[in-house]
């Protein structure tokens, strides 16, 4: 009983940064770039969800006579691609895919990373050592090398690309969580809970995890940015999401041969990627400042 109580109090303290007037949130609001990033993410997400329904063109409608229309030409605001498809429609649909890939890859990699990190941090002995050596080994591969090697295993589709990205980006999370859990383990309330005979799983999920949430949220935000970028790299290297499904990465990939004749084909998706990724990075940075007061230098 009392173990529960201690847990709850701790959670309340840790979760308080999410309340509007909490010091953490005020710090976040002060961080103008982070606010800009958050607004941009919301706006982009809304545009990608609602936008395609409002447009007269579908992203897959082929109209050969209209191919290579430059931006600001009459019916096509952002022009058309080599098959005469509306670029705005494709950009928004691609946004759905790319953002969805980013979020889902983040969720999966967080799940993997948190589990491995928690287990490694909680059971320090042999289990922890083995798991963390595995994490270290995975980190010995430069990320693109790993992405490429694993992409050889799969045939490219949206779910498999999500898995691919998740499988190559959970290690940092695992490290962060492991470190957090390790340090939290020795806190009094945890020691108390152990003494009260609480089960390991209960301690991990009810007490340790909630208190590591601040660093997990920061890592998750940066992870989305990483995943969106990774999708574009995989596409660039020829293993990306396959047509007719558009993604920012494969739009960019297909634009390369038209760099001189139709540069807008490459500029627009590139700009979309940069905007999305930097927004997530701004928010992640802001969250770190807000949630981790130690970083708040005098």
């Amino acid at each position: 009983m009392s173990a529960d109580l201690t847990g709850v109090t701790e959670v309340r303290i840790a979760a308080s940064p999410f309340l509007w007037n909490s010091p953490g949130f005020r710090r976040f609001r002060r961080h103008r770039l982070a606010v800009f990033g958050a607004v941009a993410i919301v706006a982009m997400t809304l545009a990608c969800i609602v936008g395609p329904m409002l447009l007269p063109y579908s992203d897959t409608f082929i109209d050969i006579r209209q191919r290579f229309a430059p931006p600001f030409s009459d019916p096509h605001v952002l022009g058309t691609d080599p098959l005469g498809r509306d670029i705005l429609a494709r950009l928004l649909m691609a946004g759905r895919i790319s953002l969805a890939v980013g979020f889902s890859a983040m969720l999966i990699s967080m799940a993997i990373g948190i589990c491995i990190g928690m287990i490694a941090g909680f059971y320090e002995g042999a289990v922890g050592a083995v798991l963390m050596r595995f994490v270290d080994a995975m980190l010995c591969f430069p990320s693109i090398f790993l992405l490429l090697a694993i992409s050889a295993l799969i045939s490219p589709s949206v779910p498999s690309i999500v898995m691919l990205i998740a499988m190559t980006s959970w290690m940092e999370v695992a490290r962060v969580v492991e470190a957090q859990i390790k340090s939290l383990r020795t806190r009094d309330y945890v020691v108390a809970a152990v003494a009260m005979g609480a089960s390991n799983r209960r301690i991990m999920f009810r007490q340790l995890l909630p208190n590591a949430i601040a660093s997990i949220v920061v890592a998750a935000t940066l992870n989305v940015a990483h995943a969106i970028l990774a999708e574009s790299y995989i596409s660039f290297l020829g293993y990306g999401i396959q047509p007719p499904t558009p993604s920012w990465g494969n739009m960019l990939e297909n634009a390369q041969s038209y760099l001189t004749s139709a540069p807008w084909l490459a500029i627009l998706p590139g700009a979309a990627i940069t905007l999305a990724v930097s927004s997530f990075n701004f928010v992640g940075d802001g969250l770190r400042d807000a949630l981790d007061p130690r970083m708040d230098l005098p």
């Binding site: 770039l33 050596r133 595995f134 270290d136 080994a137 995975m138 980190l139 010995c140 591969f141 430069p142 990320s143 693109i144 090398f145 490429l148 090697a149 694993i150 050889a152 295993l153 940015a225 970028l229 574009s232 790299y233 660039f236 290297l237 960019l252 390369q256 760099l259 001189t260 540069p263 490459a266 500029i267 590139g270 990627i273 940069t274 990724v277 930097s278 990075n281 701004f282 940075d285 230098l297 005098p298």
Partner: protein, 317 residues
């Protein structure tokens, strides 16, 4: 110190073993194989393909192939490339120069530029310059490297004609000037991310140092501000920075692969790509092991320097 080193080296060996297992498993479990290249041509029959698979030993159980690879590796034999029919070590050696040239030059550029931006940002904290540098660094970290490379080529090679669009040198002209001219584009592209990282770390590590007591003391004693910053603050901020560089090796290698691809730079990144699409297993394994050694070396050096910089760090991990 020496026990620390021995421990780290032993750990590194264990890591390399795990790395080799993961790499080997990923490669060999992938569908397709080194024979795809020939099957696609259509002039080799199934009988030819089956025979070559047999001759390359690709039909044996995976653990046997791994054990054989490991045994040969331990004796210093990295195997023969399927694509090149040459020893893997020889192939890596012939590509490493180009990659090192690119990595070292861009690291140098990133250090200089990053240190300058970081220091100035720290001195003029919250100034317009600082704000712009912060935004710039974040954006630099968010741009897909290959896209930035394409933009550079589009603007400076195709548009203005100032830079060559690729290659390491012009055939028949291997002069230093020619090589430097070719190096500019890829060097800038690869340095982008490192510069951003360096400037951010430099800024915060300068801020940390500036608030230390001895700096305050120096200021109080009337030492000129410029001297305070360069003599005392910069020197003390620098060591931790070097450790960052060591830890930055994997990112740098990834960036090099992409940059080499965009600028048709004949280095290890291109070799890796070509080898992986050919499923040239011995070469891919060789490169993976080689990069893993580089990464481990980078982090080992980082740890050692970190220990030197801050003797308070206990060397127990």
């Amino acid at each position: 110190m020496s026990t620390f080193l021995v421990r780290r080296l032993l750990q590194a060996l264990v890591l390399l073993l795990i790395v080799s297992m993961i790499g080997f498993a990923i490669l060999h479990l992938a569908p397709g194989g080194p024979l795809s290249q020939f099957a696609a041509g259509g002039d080799m029959t199934q009988a030819d393909l089956d025979r070559i698979a047999e001759q390359l030993g690709l039909n044996r159980p995976l653990p046997v192939q791994y054990a054989e690879w490991l045994w040969r590796m331990l004796r210093g034999d990295w195997g023969l490339s399927y694509r090149d029919h040459q020893p893997v070590l020889h192939i890596i050696a012939s590509h490493i120069g180009a990659t090192m040239e690119l990595m070292l030059s861009s690291t140098l550029l990133a250090m200089l530029l990053g240190a300058w931006v970081g220091i100035l940002g720290a001195i003029r904290r919250y100034s317009l310059f600082d704000a712009l540098a912060t935004i710039g660094a974040m954006i630099a970290l968010s741009i897909p490297t290959f896209w930035f490379g394409l933009v550079i080529i589009y603007v400076f090679s195709v548009g203005l004609g100032w830079l060559p669009a690729g290659n390491r040198y012009t055939i028949g002209d291997g002069s230093a000037l020619n090589r430097i001219h070719h190096l500019i584009g890829p060097c800038i592209v690869l340095a982008l991310v490192s510069t951003a990282v360096w400037s951010r770390y430099m800024r915060s590590s300068m801020l940390e140092v500036v608030n230390q007591d001895y700096i305050r003391t120096a200021r109080a004693k009337g030492v000129p501000e410029r001297q305070v910053l360069l003599r005392h603050a910069f020197r003390n901020a620098l060591l931790p920075m070097i450790t960052i560089t060591g830890l930055h090796v994997p990112t740098l290698l990834s960036g090099a692969l992409v940059t080499e691809t965009v600028f048709t730079w004949p280095g290890m990144g291109r070799l890796f790509l070509d080898s992986i699409s050919y499923r040239d297993y011995p070469t891919v394994m060789g490169i993976l092991m080689f990069t893993a050694v580089l990464v481990l070396l980078g982090s080992l050096i980082a740890d050692l320097l970190y220990g030197l910089a801050d003797p308070r760090i206990a060397r127990n991990g």
